[in-house]
Symmetry: C2
Subunit: 238 residues, 2 copies
């Protein structure tokens, strides 16, 4: 997807006939991106991002998260070691390079990447998603994942619950950057598998995942027990 | 499913004409069942059970687990608190009542249930699955699950990776007992959701889950990144 924003390479000078007006490379707009581990201070942004994702998936009727409940469940005290429980990577972007980012966990270094865009991004929600670290840094997306256990492999893996990029930042390679960060973390830790689910009508997402090397398994169905049906189990006579 | 083994109730005495020979209730065969948290000593049985499950699911080509890798990943040292990471319930059966079972975790008491079967169970693998606790106790199944995180609810849930009952013990209510144990644990802990996946051709399992109050979600597809495709992420330039 990053390639889509780059355009074709300019023709080599030898290929340009002398009578042709030399093509002027349009100015590029650099945008600096960083992925870091989320902290409890990201909860207000995360809450808005998860709500936007529910809207995109047409599932707002299932959305009951609050900032308080997110903080309590994603950032308990004492915090578990990163990657052993629910883990969130935050994607931030900035028109200026990021200052050196401290490595808060021995298993993970923040990931930096510079994007060169044909056009600057018009972000009407810039103020809402302005990062608490100051400057012109804006939160553009996130990925939430946690360990799973493919027993046939007898190795842990990761399950990606959510991967979301805000609308103005889509189709520019940011989703790929977030997804790659999780895949790279799994590979580095010697994990056996990364799994997630996708809505069958989300053909853009399916195409993206296939490009990333994923298989889409056609014959498994997701089953869910929730709400009153689940609550009734508390009093069930086993 | 337990009901299927019970048969219809006997007719009330008033309904029996005097000329009818009184119906003799066939003798029932009690079988005592217990669900407890697995320990590292269950690994040899677990390894065989997971392999039997791979055979049932026609997926033995994906099976690479060994006793050593299962022990290292399911029972690390120090052990995490039960239910905060990969968790296994073991189902044992015995023709005699179980002795009082010590409660090893404050959040979970072993679950006991007595089944009354029309016929005794012929278990040709009884010796292979004889429980280490001695007596005539045999391991009949297991369920492996771990926390997941439905972010719309901002509450943890459980994901059931495996639920398996050995062949001679099927269709008698043991699968229901294992499933109910996980649902009850989730409900008691105030969790928001239990999820798992099922093969779309496994109509018996789908029917069973629907009876248990589950929804089968038709429009989600499972995506998987594994093997060399995943390993390549370790060296990928993000």
């Amino acid at each position: 997807m990053a390639a889509a924003a780059e355009g074709p390479p300019p023709p080599s000078p030898a290929a340009i006939p002398e009578t042709t007006v030399p093509e002027i490379t349009p100015p590029r707009h650099p945008l600096f991106a960083r992925i870091r581990l989320a902290t409890i201070f990201d909860v207000p942004h995360l809450h808005k991002l998860i709500h936007q994702m529910a809207t995109f998936e047409r599932l707002t009727h299932l959305f009951t998260a609050t900032e308080v409940s997110l903080a309590a469940t994603l950032f308990p005290n004492p915090p578990p070691r990163p990657f052993t429980s629910f883990t969130v990577f935050i994607l931030e972007v900035s028109p200026s390079p990021f200052p050196p980012t401290p490595q808060t966990d021995p298993n993970f270094s923040p990931i930096l990447k510079t994007f060169h865009l044909d056009l600057p991004i018009e972000d009407t929600e810039k103020e809402v998603f302005r990062s608490g670290i100051g400057g012109d840094v804006v939160v553009a997306g996130f990925v939430l994942f946690f360990p799973n256990y493919p027993s046939f492999l007898a190795k842990p893996g990761f399950y990606i619950e959510d991967l979301f990029v805000r609308e103005p930042y889509r189709k520019k390679g940011f989703g790929r950057m977030l997804f790659t960060a999780v895949g790279a973390q799994a590979a580095k830790m010697g994990y056996g598998r990364v799994e997630w689910v996708v809505l069958d009508w989300n053909v853009n997402a399916i195409q993206f995942y296939e490009q990333m090397g994923a298989e889409i398994l056609p014959d498994w169905r997701v089953c869910r027990l929730t709400g009153e049906a689940l609550e009734s189990f508390a009093h069930l006579n086993i």
